[in-house]
């Protein structure tokens, strides 16, 4: 009798320990972090023979890049619109570049002040990411070739630089 009781107790104990072993702890920590994500592909339209433009009215699509920050006041976003092609057909005349960066969407209404507070120099735009959450930035870019010269046929590639710099 005692043996049987001990056996049952041993089995119960082992089952209980087995159940305990199934406990799967989930651990995590929140730390400041920045993530850069390309959200929408940009496309240059070719409204006239000498112009390439991402503007919708020119048949282009403005690229959108997304910045996620976990904590406020830890990072600034630095976005550079192109001033040259990374690859293109041989160009024999000058290219005049224009561009701008602006906030297109925000996850927190407090981010609405980003545009007013942005700093612009050369082809660079800086935003202090003073609110935690997600901000989408749209980039406009256009390039004009020579004096109303037609772009040579071929494939053109340019780079937009999106940087997240710790403050």
């Amino acid at each position: 009798m005692f043996k049987q009781t001990s056996l049952v107790a041993a089995i119960l104990l082992s089952v209980t320990q087995g159940a305990r072993a199934l406990d799967a702890p989930i651990m995590g920590s929140v730390q400041s972090k920045c993530s850069i994500t390309t959200d929408t592909p940009g496309i240059y339209g070719n409204p006239t023979p000498s112009v390439l433009s991402t503007a919708a009215v020119d048949g282009g699509i403005e690229p959108v890049v997304r910045f996620d920050v976990i904590s406020a006041d830890y990072y600034k976003a630095v976005i550079t619109h192109p001033q040259d092609f990374s690859s293109s057909p041989t160009l024999t005349d000058t290219v005049v570049w224009n561009g701008a960066v602006s906030v297109s969407e925000v996850s927190d209404p407090l981010m609405s002040g980003y545009d007013a507070a942005k700093r612009v120099y050369n082809n660079v735009t800086e935003f202090d990411l003073t609110v935690a959450g997600t901000t989408w930035f749209s980039i406009t870019s256009d390039a004009s070739y020579g004096f109303d010269k037609s772009w040579p046929a071929g494939s053109y590639n340019a780079v937009v630089s999106a940087e997240c710099i710790a403050l």
């Binding site: 730390q31 972090k33 920045c34 994500t37 240059y44 590639n157 937009v160 710099i165 710790a166």
Partner: protein
């Protein structure tokens, strides 16, 4: 017909790049006169497999450093831990540690986005 489309970005949903921690700590290394900083890079860009590491001053001048490889191959959704070694004499001027995406030369992609994330030594 001439095609003059230029894609500035090649992207799809959830293509990102992370470099943590924001404020890394500096530890002594196993070598005398050399300090070590450990960083982690997460690649969620499926169009990028290579990243380069750089150490810079506050004015974005390059600071000499050593890693196992200055160009890292990180597979899509992969994490890579990087040990960065900086001479103690260079440490006072080292302010930013950055990772930057690299595209392959001659890669037949129609668009490029360069992402760069910099952490700060405090």
């Amino acid at each position: 017909m001439r095609v003059f489309l230029l894609l500035v970005f090649l992207c799809a949903p959830a293509m990102g790049h992370q470099f943590t921690p924001t404020y890394p700590k500096v530890y002594p290394s196993h070598l005398p006169g050399i300090s070590k900083v450990t960083m982690e890079l997460f690649n969620s860009r499926d169009d990028i497999s290579y990243y380069t590491i750089g150490v810079f001053t506050t004015n974005w001048q390059r600071v000499p450093f050593a890693t196992a490889s200055k160009i890292l191959k990180v597979k899509y959704l992969g994490r890579e831990t990087v040990d960065i070694y900086i001479r103690n004499t260079d440490l006072p001027k080292a302010v930013y540690i950055c990772s930057k995406s690299k595209t392959l030369s001659g890669q037949k992609q129609v668009a490029v986005v360069s992402s760069k994330i910099c952490s700060k030594l405090k």
